[in-house]
Symmetry: C2
DNA sequence: AAAAAATGCGTAATTTTAACACAATGCAAC
DNA sequence: GTTGCATTGTGTTAAAATTACGCATTTTTT
């Protein structure tokens, strides 16, 4: 066995490697599908498999004259997640939320690695020719979840334990919808009521009565209406009204 | 400057230290207050201040003949949290849930440290003489939260950033109550309807009509009734009925 | 023992949700 | 361009859930 590179950063006790991964949700207006952004891995392990964008936490440190690590600067885990997203997918993500950590022993074959997982909501740009990151791909969420669900025991679709992370992110997104109108963060500034409803239906996997849904949304008062060229009406989130509405604390009634 | 201990575990890149902390919730039947278990720190930093129980993640590793770290066994973060709780408070915690990570640069003056925070629900043993851990203390949550809220800017009540963690844990507990009957995990096996209501009121900081609350709970079908010596009735969670009820997915209506 | 508080059991008014009707508009095929 | 069909905006009504409150009785307090 060789020893090609000498480890430089030494500690009194062993430490795990720390990474972030992120489930990026987007709503494709064209086919009205909720999608997630996956990266095809170019290196081992899991080369060629799809995975969530993510990577190692960055710490700037130097070694002093006693051989001790002197830490100079570090990023928070959230910063790390945002930086990795920018690097791997080109997205400057604003709406990003922590999902949880994954730390099962053996989850990364290289070394003991814990990951802090996030989920982010972005608006899919209309029919982009190709992604900044050549290997990034929008995949319908239902396809991913179905593939995962129907896999024989012990097999995985995505790299590492990312199957679990995607599944958990979807559940969290559904729950979070009870407390915050996250859905709006997946849409362009203005949207039709039908689009909004289709989005809620896609996330919650449940159909709503068109008229009752519209009434609930409008009664909440958080939407401003704008006429269009045709007879149809477009809507836009009124942030002030929304903040007030959130304080009143009855958003759960929107859905449940 | 001295170099008393030689760092043994070396890596190619700097790594953060990883810890877990836990907010332990308990409901004190005696005074009907929701309380959290705090530890008085015996060592620097923050010596003498109250803090959440927690500690460093444990990894077993050795150094091979090339000076490389060979990892042999590690615990998950959840295991770490449970182990630290057992060590520091004597509690064998069953109901423990992840809250989130804290990783702001500088949050630990010793070194770059990220913490994975948990919250746990236990039943406070009736009038225990003294805690296993001499420095552990049950403190009413409202006292902690009020102290934190009224602190001048920049000052903290608890050690590290534990003020934030406790506050976040309370919010999460409130939200989680919409999806799971976590409250029962804070009570002894059997309890009166009034106790249950007081608990919900303590967690949600909101009063319920005695009669309406009882009806909602009983209508849900998840409680079995048991007569007592007096005219009063005690109740007990029916786990099967509850699991069924959870699938039906209308627990949010209990509260909202 | 009297007063006060807590308990069990109930009803009615109100609000919220769910189910459905219908006319007008946009769109595609012919 | 007109015919058929899906979509949109506007409404009504029945059912269900929530809220507010009464009252006799038991338990606790003073």
């Amino acid at each position: 066995m060789e020893n090609p590179v000498r480890p430089r950063f030494g500690y009194l006790y062993p430490r795990p490697a720390v990474t972030t991964d992120c489930v990026i949700f987007g709503f494709d207006i064209a086919d009205e599908l909720l999608k997630v952004l996956l990266i095809e891995r170019g290196i081992e392990p899991y080369k060629g498999r799809y995975a969530l964008p993510g990577g190692f936490m960055q710490i700037d440190a130097r070694i002093n004259e006693f051989g001790l690590v002197v830490e100079e600067r570090n990023e928070s885990l959230l910063d790390c997640a945002k930086r990795e997203l920018k690097e791997e997918t080109g997205f400057d993500v604003q709406n990003i939320y922590e999902l949880g950590t994954w730390s099962t022993p053996g989850r990364d074959p290289r070394c003991i690695t814990i990951t802090d997982a996030y989920y982010a909501l972005v608006t899919i740009q209309p029919v982009r020719g190709g992604d900044d990151a050549a290997d990034a791909k929008w995949v319908p969420l239902y396809q991913v979840l179905n593939t995962i669900k129907n896999l024989p025991d012990g097999l995985r679709f995505l790299a590492f334990d990312h199957d679990e992370i995607v599944t958990a992110a979807h559940v969290r997104l559904q729950q979070q919808l009870c407390f915050e109108p996250l859905a709006f963060k997946l849409l362009p500034k203005r949207f039709s009521m039908t689009t909004l409803r289709r989005l809620y239906e896609a996330i919650l996997e449940k159909n709503f009565d068109r008229r009752n849904f519209a009434r609930k949304m409008l009664d909440s008062g958080i939407l401003d209406a704008f006429p269009t060229e045709s007879r149809n009406i477009n809507y836009q989130l009124n942030l002030e009204k929304y903040e007030e509405f959130k304080r009143t604390g009855r958003l759960s009634n929107l859905i449940f």
